[in-house]
Subunit: 321 residues, 2 copies
């Protein structure tokens, strides 16, 4: 049994052992090594390892290539999304298209996706075809989610179902993919894989809604700037729900606030959110997704070695890691 710290250290070590920074041409591989070295929490590979272990009962390290594939994929999306979003900073460091240039960012992003492919199937030859089928489904859904996010930003009348489907694809599908790929590699049948997938997606949507909520209503001592999404007019669940519940006068205020760029914009929008009790509405929706995950997790506990996965998720949910 490994604890979370050990799993994370093993993931870091395995990423380093890929030796990307030694490969040529340097302009292709250095950016790949760079983005992967901006150490995140490595939630996705750890979830993959634990889903594999839950099903197989085997040493989770056996799924390390698959786990790292998911992390490499995630970093491919970061590099390309940062170009599309014109984002200069990622995890406190310059983004790839800023540190190098846009062409290099496009190409090293491509190479990250290409590099991940063999990592998915290499250690599980007898399940390589279904693994690649699932990986393709996940990859395409993530691309669809990013496109829907860009589409949504330009849309006058975005709906809440549109938004939920977008965040499902853009962020939750990959968490579901960690679970489905890990369990598939571990030898699970279609039904179990499906439960793992849905479990991961439900959690993913819940986490994303939590992020949206914290942007407007951060918990005590939360370091981040409040209202970044409001300043950018991001069509989050909070804004869409407020537009839905607003009376004509409030709706006019929201529209006016979205057109302005004043210092008081955030405070005024939060005031509307408070009038409409948006925090409770959002919390209720988050609760529904987490309840669904809990229900699926209970079913999976009966059939798999689910405890390490459950306890890791507990750690994440309490934001200890």
């Amino acid at each position: 049994m490994y604890n979370t710290t050990e799993l994370k250290a093993a993931v870091e070590q395995h990423i380093e052992n890929l030796g990307l920074d030694q490969r040529k041409p340097a302009n292709l591989y250095q950016p790949m090594a760079y983005i992967l070295s901006l150490k995140g929490k490595r939630i996705r590979p750890i979830l993959t390892l634990l889903a594999y272990q839950a099903v197989s009962g085997a040493n989770p390290m056996k799924a390390m290539n698959l786990a790292v594939a998911v992390e490499v994929f995630h970093n491919f999306t970061l590099v390309h999304d940062d170009i599309m979003d014109r984002a200069p900073v990622r995890r406190g460091n310059a983004t790839v298209h800023i540190k190098w240039n846009e062409n290099i960012a496009i190409l090293s992003g491509d190479a990250l996706l290409a590099f991940s492919m063999d990592l998915v199937t290499g250690d599980f030859p007898e399940r390589a075809a279904p693994l690649m089928k699932e990986y393709t489904r996940v990859s395409l859904a993530v691309c669809e989610g990013q496109m829907e996010d860009m589409d949504l930003a330009l849309q006058e009348h975005a709906t809440i179902p549109d938004y939920l489907e977008m965040i499902r694809k853009k962020t939750a599908v990959l968490l579901g993919g960690c679970m489905s790929l890990g369990s598939l590699a571990g030898g699970a049948d279609e039904e179990i894989v499906g439960q793992f997938r849905e479990f991961g997606e439900s959690l993913g949507i819940g986490f994303q809604l939590q992020d949206d909520l914290m942007d407007a209503f951060p918990p005590e001592g939360f370091g981040k700037q409040v209202g970044g999404d409001i300043i950018e007019n991001k069509k989050t669940y909070l804004l869409l729900k407020a537009q839905e519940l607003a009376d004509p006068s409030q709706r006019k205020t929201i529209a006016a606030l979205m057109a302005e760029n004043s210092d008081s914009k955030v405070e005024k929008m939060l005031e509307i959110f408070r009038q409409l009790d948006i925090e409770s509405h959002t919390q209720a929706l988050i609760h529904r997704y987490f309840e669904k995950a809990k229900y699926l997790g209970q079913a999976l506990s009966q059939k798999t070695h689910f405890e390490p996965l459950r306890s890791y998720l507990q750690e994440i949910a309490s934001r200890k890691i």
Copy 2:
């Protein structure tokens, strides 16, 4: 037995049957359908089908998903290369980043690569892992080749070996990949797969050098503009060989020509090429690659049903198609 026209028609039909233009979000899938609808010669998928048939003796149509995967991959590289090269036109039509925009081109290129993955392995579950390993090797090499091409353009002292390695990766590796993937899917062992791969790469380098040569010394009745590479100062084999063979005075003239943008630039550079007999030097090198391919082809003729592949390549070489 199918003839080339039938194989090409079947490839076109299969691409249409993917139904990309029906999928949502339209901003993601329409550009994918669009680039694939700009019908090229479909050389790569046809080579894949014929390599599969050569080894297995089976109906080549059984490898159609794999063949189309290679074509989809090729189109992924076109979409992203066109962004990087700021190319406005592809096969007489607007490129994706011009017809839509750059973000859409990045993302639909990504989705083409993602979409291709399952097509590679789906029909050959028992060989899915080695197929994906080979596909990953090819994909990474193509990314490396594109990066080396961009690096080379900025390099003061590019060498002929640098150039040959770049074109090997940028264009020949994918032709080799058609052969290696097709033969692997057909059940070939490592030795045969290796011979197919090298056969395809040798042909690919030969074809690329032929393209370079035709840019400067087109055959009678060749429609294309002469000297496009010269105008752009592209470091082709012809230019690098001329720099190598030039005496100090010719070397000075070449450098001066590269710095100028006059109407007579092409004619003056061609004059240097003629003085140094660059056409013969290039033809000699092309001949060496084609001889190597011929030699490998003869070996493969002993062990596989090679004739349809050989005769298709003859058609390509004589530029009938």
